[in-house]
Amino acid sequence: MIEILHASREVETDPQSDLRSDLELIDAVNEGDHSAFDVLYLRHRDWVVNLAFRFTRDRDLALDVLQDTFLYFLKKFPGFRLTAKLTTFFYPAVRNLSLTAVKKARRFQSDESISERVEAPEEVAPLENQREQLAAVMAGLSEEHREVLLLRFVEGMKMGEIAEVMGIATGTVKSRLHNALTTLRKDERTRKFFDK
């Protein structure tokens, strides 16, 4: 009889207790210090998996993307050099891996387009509260517009950072941000946020 046991955490490294910067940790990993990689992983894990979930809207796919992202990151060592924030490095990898994961999952599902999967929220009827109304309006934005909005005001990225992670010009970021906010301002469901 085969007994199945749940795995337990082998490493309880607390990223909060390690005061080294990402840059210092990366230097350590380049020297072969796997515990430094563990700290980096635990420090950025939740951000990566939640970003992946934002793209995939699927928990299992998000976990797959989490694994693939850190495997991709791991393969950069030794020799990896960080010249910007680590999240700036992770973002395009997570996005692209997420798109790939969704497309792969789609092959075995319906012909529903990826944009529909990514953009369509769960049906909530009626739209009673502000959160649901905002979600509905956000779902109506294009993926590009929604993303710049979240990167700017939720992730707190500057225009230049957003341009870098999305691979677009800063002017394009500004334009998309402006258009996204205009849409929210004009929509009666979200206009209230702009009323003073």
Binding site: I2, E3, I4, L5, H6, A7, S8, R9, E10, V11, G32, D33, H34, F37, D38, L42, D46, N50, A52, F53, R54, L63, Q67, D68, F70, L71, Y72, L74, K75, K76, F77, P78, G79, F80, R81, T83, A84, T88, F89, P92, A93, N96, L99, T100, K103, K104, Q130, R131, L134, A135, M138, F153, V154, M159, G160, E164, K174, L181, F193, F194
Partner: protein, 196 residues
């Protein structure tokens, strides 16, 4: 667009505080990452980094193609590694795959990959184990948990997730023959996957 205008660009694009709070709340999906997934990723890091400063086990071929994002500066250390030290060891199938994710995976590469798969060619630039076409009917290696015709670290991840999810795990996954399917079996697969 000059540097003097940059701060003003950021300041001009503002959103109401209430909207920002609502957006943050909307994006507040938190995905729980099972400890076994953490363990599998950290185990992969240990194996890769302890394999030697040469990074012989997981380093892929270093392409001369400029990285998609110029925030990543190659140290120049990376040397093209022979096929015998690539990440994915193909035990079955005619086309051993090499994972060559030396830059953030591009979504458009997925379309090329799909075409290459159909033609039975190698997967050039995806980080996921897209090896032989899904229709491959050859017998799978017993460590090939995810049945992709390649034994790699993704099989360790897949097993870890099955264990964590308390799914019915085939007895065949008791790789170390100790009567229990647990972390030790995950480590077993990880060791096999990176073995030269």
């Amino acid at each position: 667009m000059n540097e003097f205008n940059r701060p003003e660009q950021d300041e001009q694009i503002e959103a109401p505080e209430e909207l920002i709070e609502a957006l943050a709340e909307l994006d507040n999906e938190h995905i729980f990452v099972p400890p076994s997934v953490d363990g599998a990723i950290m185990a992969a890091a240990r194996k890769h980094l302890n394999a030697g400063q040469g990074g012989a086990l997981l380093a892929g071929p270093q392409s001369g193609t400029p990285p998609r994002s110029n925030i990543i500066a190659w140290s120049g250390w990376g040397v093209a590694i022979a096929a015998s030290v690539v990440l994915m060891i193909s035990l079955t199938g005619p086309n051993p795959q090499t994972r060559q994710a030396d830059q953030a995976p591009e979504p458009q590469e997925t379309a090329e990959l799909a075409a290459a798969e159909a033609a039975g060619a190698s997967a050039p630039t995806e980080t996921e184990a897209m090896t032989a076409a899904p229709a491959a009917k050859a017998a799978f290696a017993r460590e090939d948990v995810n049945r992709d015709n390649t034994v790699d670290i993704l099989d360790a991840f897949a097993l870890a997730r099955q264990i964590e999810g308390a799914q019915v795990v085939p007895a065949a996954y008791d790789f170390n023959n100790d009567g229990i399917i647990d972390r030790a079996d995950v480590d077993w697969v990880a060791r096999v996957s990176v073995k030269l």
